[in-house]
């Protein structure tokens, strides 16, 4: 909220799954739905972070002036006469396939398993991938936006994209923080950290052995 401006943001009335929902201008469809207790699944969304729009699991149907588009609810902002459908054959088909893509990486992620049950996704549909990471970017963005440390980042692109700790920063910052660990929907983040730590800034192994 900008304090200087007295003018209140105007309220917009939209429809989500047939229910009328009031939302201030600039609010995303996802936030409006959450306010009205309507569930839209998310994987890369976090309330403390900027909307990212990467996992696309929150894809919904948005109809404006007779045109229906498939949009990501976490980044699409409300507008006059907007009619949102959070479930449809098309939406479910997209969510199912996205889950199947991700389950090839992290078949044991509880979050993915729950959604897989809802959308009938088959965890064995695609060949298993060597990396557990689903690249939701929660760790990378949390470190950059909330902690402002950038101890972890993305490297490479396309199918070769991965997360990587930056040893110079991670060796100083991570052991006292680790706030990103519980955000990870898989176990990959911890693995990546332990790997970086053991390669780049190993703890004195004799000491850790003695402490135990």
């Amino acid at each position: 909220m900008i304090m200087g401006k007295q003018k209140k943001k105007s309220e917009i009335i939209i429809q989500i799954d047939g229910k009328e929902v009031k939302a201030p201008e600039g609010m995303t469809v996802l936030e409006a739905a959450q306010k009205a207790d309507i569930f839209i699944p998310t994987l890369c969304h976090h309330e403390k972070l900027e909307p990212y729009g990467a996992c696309r699991i929150c894809t919904v149907e948005a109809e404006v002036r007779g045109w229906t588009n498939l949009v990501a609810a976490c980044v699409y902002t409300v507008e006059e006469n907007l009619v949102v459908g959070t479930r449809s054959e098309k939406v479910d088909k997209i969510r199912k396939l996205i889950l199947e893509f991700l389950l090839a990486h992290a078949p044991n992620s509880p979050q993915l398993q729950d959604l897989a049950q809802e959308y009938g996704a088959d965890k064995d549909r695609f060949e298993k991938e060597p990396s557990f990471c689903i690249l939701c970017g929660l760790c990378v963005r949390y470190c950059a936006e909330v902690k402002k440390k950038n101890a972890i980042g993305f490297v490479d692109r396309g199918a070769r994209r991965e997360i990587s700790f930056i040893p110079e920063i991670a060796s100083k910052e991570c052991n006292s923080c680790k706030e990103c660990f519980p955000l990870c929907p898989t176990s990959y983040l911890q693995t990546a950290f332990v790997l970086t730590e053991s390669l780049a800034f190993p703890r004195d192994s004799s000491q850790t052995a003695l402490k135990k």
Partner: protein, 247 residues
């Protein structure tokens, strides 16, 4: 634009028009150089002069770049409305070694092909878009009868898997899985159901990806499935494809 600002080249997540908020939050106009090159001509000679060339909906001329199995490769400026046949056999000088033409591919890795039977289509944005072959920047890749269209799709997807930034799931994972299936088909390990799976994935990447790259990445695949589905089937059936893969 993100690159100009010094950020990683990833698409902006929000639904904002660049003409409202672009580079450094300022309104920005993003156009091809060719588009800009037309502007002085229109200003100097008037719109009437400019629109006297072309078709009803596509005005003026277009730079096309001819490549592939064609005698004269290079860039040519042609009036809109010229048929593809005139461009290929007139300006382009036809196919080398007297071979037959199989398809003309428009718009590069995110474009589409038209088969020989549609060669009399005029160069026109709408006409070609209807056929699933967008003119795009004007690239025309001419493919002769020896071309395996499954291999063409694979080639483009392989290119795009390196072009994808990897941010959103449908594009990153979808291209990877489609490429895997196409590799199998090309290697003679295609399975029944592969075509249907390709169709399902291409539909989802087309509908749910974050930016235009993901949304159109599967266009050549969808387009070749439209006109050359028999080649996919032939490759899967392990019956020798009418045009055996060239090694």
């Amino acid at each position: 634009m993100k690159s100009i600002e010094g950020n990683p080249p990833e698409p902006r997540p929000k639904y904002i028009h660049t003409s409202v908020s672009g580079i450094w939050g300022k309104p920005s106009v993003l156009n091809n150089v060719e588009t800009w090159a037309n502007v002085p001509l229109i200003i100097n000679k008037g719109s009437e002069w400019y629109t006297s060339t072309g078709t009803e909906r596509s005005k003026g001329t277009k730079l096309v770049s001819l490549s592939g199995n064609i005698v004269n490769t290079g860039v040519a400026e042609v009036p809109f409305g010229t048929t593809i046949r005139e461009i290929v056999y007139g300006i382009g000088g036809g196919i080398p070694k007297g071979k037959k033409l199989k398809a003309v591919h428009f718009g590069g890795p995110m474009g589409g092909s038209i088969p020989e039977s549609l060669l009399d289509t005029p160069l026109d944005f709408d006409e070609l878009a209807k056929l699933g072959a967008p003119i795009g920047a004007g690239s025309m890749l001419v493919l002769d009868e020896d071309t395996n269209m499954v291999d063409v799709s694979r080639y483009f997807l392989n290119f795009l898997t390196n072009e994808s930034c990897g941010k959103c799931v449908p594009c990153r994972e979808g291209i990877k899985q489609m490429l895997r299936i196409l590799n199998n088909i090309c290697d003679g390990e295609g399975r029944e159901g592969d075509i249907e799976l390709l169709e399902e994935i291409s539909e989802v990447t087309g509908a749910a990806s974050l930016c235009a790259l993901g949304k159109t990445a599967a266009d050549p695949l969808r387009n070749t499935l439209r006109y050359f589905r028999d080649e996919y089937e032939a490759n899967i059936d392990k019956v020798k494809s009418p045009t055996e893969k060239r090694e």
